[in-house]
Amino acid sequence: MTTPTAPAPASNAWASNAWPSKLRRIRALVLKESRQIMRDPSSIAIGAVLPLILILLFGYGLSLDVKNVPVAIVIDYPTPEAIELAAGFQLSPYFHPLTMHSMPPAQQLLLEHRVDGIVRIPADFSRRFAAGDAEVQLIVHGGDANRARIIESYVQGVVGIWAARLTAQGQDGPIQLVNVQSRLWFNEANDSSYFLVPGLVVLVMTLIGGLLTAMVMAREWERGTLESLLVTPVRSEEILLGKTLPYFVLALFGFVLCVLSAKFLFHVPLRGSVWVLFGASMLYVLVALGIGLLISSWVKNQLVASQLTMLATFLPAFMLSGFLFDLRSMPTLVRMITYALPARYYVALLQSVFLAGDVWSVIIPNTLMLAAMAAVLALASRAVLHKTLA
């Protein structure tokens, strides 16, 4: 574990040359690191098992689709119109209605959060409908504003369909002046897993990449084995390369598992080419590994390194990458911060490659940014490691 032993036969024709001996040293380091990975199952667990568990849990667990919303339908006075309108909620797949005849029990249900909203059809509904001026009241639990807004538009939809049917049945009524006909490109079925699953791949790869290298370097610092490695002829960039390569392979393995489950378990279409997907992802894995390397070359302590990696990767990749929340709506200062996060570029890449296809106007700038970040991280880790040696 301490000094790398040269596995190649010594009597090699080009062994004296500087470049091949560099290669030989790197090979030895890679070999040593790979053996260590094989012996310590925890790295394999992080690299291969963790991605699979996470993508399965979150792929099934995260969803923004609103279905079977429990609502209380309060019919103050059961006229035929009111009953027919209430039946519209029974038929809708989006609602799970509970019909009742007065407000207080419905309000109690809302207070206990057993329903998400109350649809009230007032006593004078039919009379006022005949006069062309009826009201349906909706009280929605506003806690989850996103969900509340979706519920409101669904209720609007049920009421609208009911009114349109009456008009179509020849009852004299006004028509809706401007109708909106909307189409959702790339996700016609409006399935939230289409954009959540590619985002999850980003989240998982960020975390895996960062953690794999962060722990490895910090552990060698703590055990003092890195110092003994440094007194050998091995140079700092060779150490970094030797540390990166085996974990790169391991993280790519995790990536393949993620993509396979996205495609075959969650049925997210892959409309772009596999090669673009892989090329961009290899770059991103390098960036994520680089973050871990940089942190652990710098702090040299497993506890602090792991806390920092966690802080620098998990929540920022979740909150600030555009995976869930729209970047354009963030205040300028926060948006500036997102430009410094590699996850932002990878989310844009994956969402496009999965759902829209090979859109070069998205792929090229984002790939370039990732490449630049990988280069900066590599140079910075080398500089930090160099400095701590001196």
């Binding site: 028509i175 002046l177 959702l184 409006n190």
Partner: protein, 375 residues
């Protein structure tokens, strides 16, 4: 009696030592106190489903007063920014593909003529569905602006108003701001990550360095060692939660509807459960690396499957059952309901007893595992 007093004194002494160890070093003090507040500030701004800047392109084939009035409604809303006026439908694809516009609003020829002749006219909306939630929200914004257009136009041109109106009101969050929902939820989330890791790692570190065995040969009983490890984390967690609460109230001005005592009771129960889990992790793990791995394996699902960003009710049934062991799920419910709805302890029973049970089981199990190691 003397026994209890002695035990209490020993626990306090150990707690004091642990707190000193964590808080004395300025770097570790900062790493525990600063991140939750900074994260609450940044994520408070970032974590919102509300849109205040939607780029759209107009494809106006009618060029009439009516179509201009409709588009002016979008431009004047303060949310929509028109990035292009498209001459042809064939330009739509490149604009959407390059993410330059989230929406395309297409108004056909005859738009005004149909409206004037009392027929209904169509407006086509095409949205970039790469984030279908954002696209859906943007489309409901457009729909409400078109609603307004309908009623203004109808009023000006003497059309019959719609026979049914939906009068909607949102309780507890009248303007439907996601921020009101997210930030109270973060009180628990931001606290969980660091306290769980702190507890798990601090025991593992002592074990890796051999000082844990030294602790075990002192007159401390395993239960007292456990309490001495748990209490400092509870103190740290409470301070962190207080910091996030201050950000929510003083910076984001989200009105606090409930009682601080109720919130404190709920948070203490949550922290006990979270720290119990941390101790259990450290009892199972042999090294710091394993301890980290297990904590991560718990923290990520805990924070993502907690109802913070996506509702629990949208999960498949079996995963909803799995989340009963997630302390954060209850904490988020408690903080939101106390904070926004002013819920009292009576309404929170369904959240409090699972937390108490979780805390009891994990603390008991961890203490049992530690004392078994001693023999």
């Amino acid at each position: 009696m003397n026994n209890v007093l002695g035990s209490l004194l020993r626990i306090l002494a150990l707690t004091r030592k642990e707190l000193l160890a964590v808080l004395k070093d300025p770097r570790s003090r900062m790493s525990l106190l600063i991140p939750p507040v900074v994260q609450a500030l940044i994520f408070g701004y970032a974590a919102t489903y509300d849109l205040n800047h939607v780029t759209y392109a107009a494809l106006d084939q009618d060029h009439s007063a009516a179509s201009r009035q409709l588009l002016a409604g979008l431009d004047g809303s303060g949310v929509f920014e028109r990035v292009a006026n498209l001459p042809r439908a064939s330009d739509i694809k490149s604009l959407i593909d390059a993410r330059r516009a989230l929406l395309i609003v297409q108004i056909d020829q005859q738009f005004e003529r149909r409206l004037l002749s009392g027929q209904s006219a169509d407006v086509q909306l095409i949205a970039d569905g790469r984030n279908s939630n954002t696209a859906g929200t943007a489309m409901t914004y457009v729909a409400s602006i078109i609603d307004q257009f309908n009623s203004t136009w109808g009023h000006d041109h003497g059309a019959v108003p719609a026979p049914v109106r939906l009068v909607a009101r949102a309780w507890y969050n009248p303007n439907l701001e996601t921020r009101w929902f997210m930030i109270p939820g973060m009180i628990g989330t931001l606290t969980l990550i660091q306290t769980l890791m702190l507890t798990a790692m601090s025991v593992s570190r002592e074990r890796e360095q051999g000082t844990f065995d030294q602790l075990l040969v002192t007159p401390f009983r395993p239960f007292e060692i456990m309490a001495g490890k748990a209490l400092p984390s509870i103190v740290v967690g409470t301070i962190q939660a207080g910091g996030v609460l201050l950000v929510a109230q003083l910076w984001f001005h989200i009105p606090f509807a409930g009682s601080y005592v109720t919130l404190a009771i709920g948070l203490l129960m949550f922290l006990s459960a979270a720290i119990g889990i941390g101790l259990l992790v450290s009892a199972v793990a042999a090294t710091m690396q394993q301890s980290l791995l297990y904590s991560m394996l718990l923290i990520m699902p805990f924070s993502l499957l907690s109802g913070l960003t996506t509702p629990l009710s949208s999960m498949p049934r079996f995963l909803q059952y799995v989340t009963v062991i997630n302390p954060l799920r209850y904490a988020i419910d408690i903080t939101r309901r106390v904070y926004l709805e002013g819920a009292g302890l009576d309404l929170l029973i369904s959240d409090l007893w699972p937390l108490a049970l979780l805390a009891a089981i994990t603390l008991w199990a961890a203490s049992w595992m530690f004392s078994n190691r001693m023999q």
